[in-house]
Symmetry: C2
Subunit: 395 residues, 2 copies
């Protein structure tokens, strides 16, 4: 019999996906270059040439078994060593290959990390606004999501609400910095306070509370932003990384879980991920992609365009009177809508061929997200539409 | 708190893995060429040149977004179309792209297929001897595995035992033909009888019973073998395929679920797989690997060596007096051990540097598996060790 549960899930389509489909359809009518499509977080800059060169060289250098053979379940050992050394060099934590579990990008990293520390019946806290997929990521483990209401002043953490929800059944806290959808990074002060609270509550509750740190935007940080590495603040941290955005290779599905070497039973966690893999389908990434990534370990795509786009949009939005927290990274910005109902606001924007995502599916009302991973030229052309929309509808 | 469940799972190491590690260690002492390592099912023939050529061409032909950008969750649409057309052409079922869900090889295909049709509390039947990973594959969905005892005469199906275990709580039957570990393929008569029983029990129970067909060895079939395509016998079939063995690319993690177009609610099953992916970590394979595979859709590696190795071993084993069913495919053979305790038998074989896998972890006692995906020259050299072992220990 077909699973009723997954049948039901099919009935709630993604708002973002629907907007992206609308943008594509509208593009067929007026030319896609005239649709200001801020819907999808799909990297717009190419992968580094070195990545493609690595793929080509690997096919020439290695024999078929070394190139396409099974990786051990936690990943290619040499690749894990290279990842660990890079993290150690950059962040000063004593990572070894035994702390690295290679995954099919961040979704798979989070799926493994959550199952390591949260069982059915447990609770996992996360913070609004958050990536909509946190619902299935958490709920499908059997644990239950609880969402801490947003700190709308600065999109840091609403600590009062957090402490209220932080009960003994909470086994993990899922954070995302720099953040999708706000673009804001948690400051050192925020992470210090978060970790102080968690250290004290671990003591009080008599069990560990893990931070699952979702970090796909770690390398997209703008000038002057205070965007520190989460794991340096809190020992029981599992960093979930993806190269999708830093190397512009989202389709290649490559990332990892990095276990803080000082975490409780740190040496057990990668073997546990191996066991988890056996039940949820082997998530080890492609062998050639692992090796190509390792050859580009400390590179990124040319990410400057995102900061340039952010500044153009931020300046225009503020000059039009929008309330908006300046992003410290990512390729998102999250202004307050000009009416309480963000859905109505974004619906009206469509008339101006501006595709904006209402904030409701991110867990807050009254905001909208713009994903500015598009050409700067298009961002510039969109400003006139943004002005016309704002002035015609809200003046 | 770390999950006790996965911590516990870490404590039961894989017998096959342990033997493979032993073989590697022994190789360091006497030279690996002198260890007759029949432990691991790792393809020994190279991938087709066309596969590597496709990878190189793709990096040159496509722009970065087309090459490395996100695939839609069920896979690259053009790749799904190519897979469907190939299946339709070869097996005469009316597959369309809507019936194909791309996965990280067979493990991921089975993880998705099982969750489509079996929920916690349900039962899933499988047949001994079976791949040991069927335990976590099934049990970790929340459903419960029940193993039908082996038909040791021919390694077809013990139908009497099957009908006894086929109760109304069984929602799915997981089969594997050609089979790991026996190398035997289910005949047309076997599949006809299996499907007759299932059709009648569907009627009786008033709910569908799905066949999950694990088919990584589908293309490795030997002369004269009757090894038909499962889905042509039974409408409610989800075929779980992997290119790991047919193209010798196990590390690239590429395969699919193919939904029989006549299955109940066939058009719902791929969208359900998409939902399942959201909870278990996105299992979509690498973008470039999907496209490279599609360019080799009807190719295989040069698989003839497996049949050659099988014949050499089969002839020697029978002439030494072993009871053994002749494999119809794969790169495995599964003879009866010469004493009741297969573990003791395989332990003694180690003295002759023969690495054989005892049958216990496959769900039957008293047999052993040889994975003959090794060089023919080594198979030939191993015969003398096999003779010495058999004669010294059992004459």
């Amino acid at each position: 019999m077909l699973s009723q549960h997954y049948k039901e899930m099919c009935k709630t389509p993604s708002v973002i996906r629907a907007l992206s489909v609308y943008a594509t359809e509208r593009g067929k009518e007026i030319g896609y270059e005239n649709v200001f499509d801020y819907s999808l977080g799909n990297p717009s800059v190419p992968a580094p040439d070195a990545f493609n060169e690595a793929i080509v060289s690997l096919t020439k250098e290695l024999d078929s078994a070394a190139l396409h053979g099974y990786s051990p379940n936690p990943g290619n050992p040499e690749v894990r060593r290279i990842v660990a050394e890079s993290l150690k060099r950059r962040f000063g934590l004593d990572y070894g290959p035994e702390h690295i579990f290679m995954t099919s990008a961040a979704a798979s990293a989070i799926a493994h990390a959550l199952r390591c520390v949260a069982a059915p019946g447990d609770e996992v806290l996360t913070f609004a606004p958050h990536f909509p997929e946190y619902y299935p990521y958490i709920n499908e483990t059997g644990a239950r999501i609880k969402v801490v209401p947003a700190d709308t002043d600065g999109f840091q953490i609403n600590f009062e609400a957090f402490e209220e929800l932080l009960t003994p059944s909470v086994q993990a806290v899922l954070i995302n910095t720099p953040n999708n959808p706000t673009g804001v990074a948690y400051s050192s002060a925020t992470l210090k306070k978060l970790s102080d609270i968690l250290y004290s509550k671990q003591e009080e509750f008599g069990h560990e509370i893990f931070i699952i740190s979702d970090e796909p935007y770690r390398e997209i940080v703008f000038e002057g932003a205070d965007a520190p590495y989460v794991s340096t603040f809190y020992d029981n941290t599992l960093s979930c990384y993806s190269f999708s955005k830093s190397l512009s290779v989202p389709g290649e599905r490559i990332g990892y879980v990095a276990v803080n070497p000082k975490a409780k039973d740190a040496e057990m966690i990668v073997p546990m991920c191996v066991q988890i893999s056996r039940g949820i389908g082997h998530n080890c990434p492609s062998s050639i992609i692992q090796m190509a990534m390792a050859r580009c370990i400390d590179m990124t795509s040319d990410l400057k365009v995102y900061e340039k786009n952010m500044n153009i949009l931020y300046n225009e939005l503020t000059s039009l009177g929008y309330t908006v927290v300046k992003p410290g990274g990512t390729f998102y910005i999250f202004p307050k809508a000009l009416e309480d109902d963000a859905n109505a606001f974004c619906e009206k924007a469509k008339k101006y061929d501006l595709i904006l995502v209402p904030s409701d599916s991110f867990g807050v009302k009254g905001y909208f997200r713009m994903a500015y991973c598009i050409e700067t030229e298009k961002v510039e052309r969109s400003l006139e539409a943004l002005r016309r929309f704002t002035e015609s509808e809200y003046r």
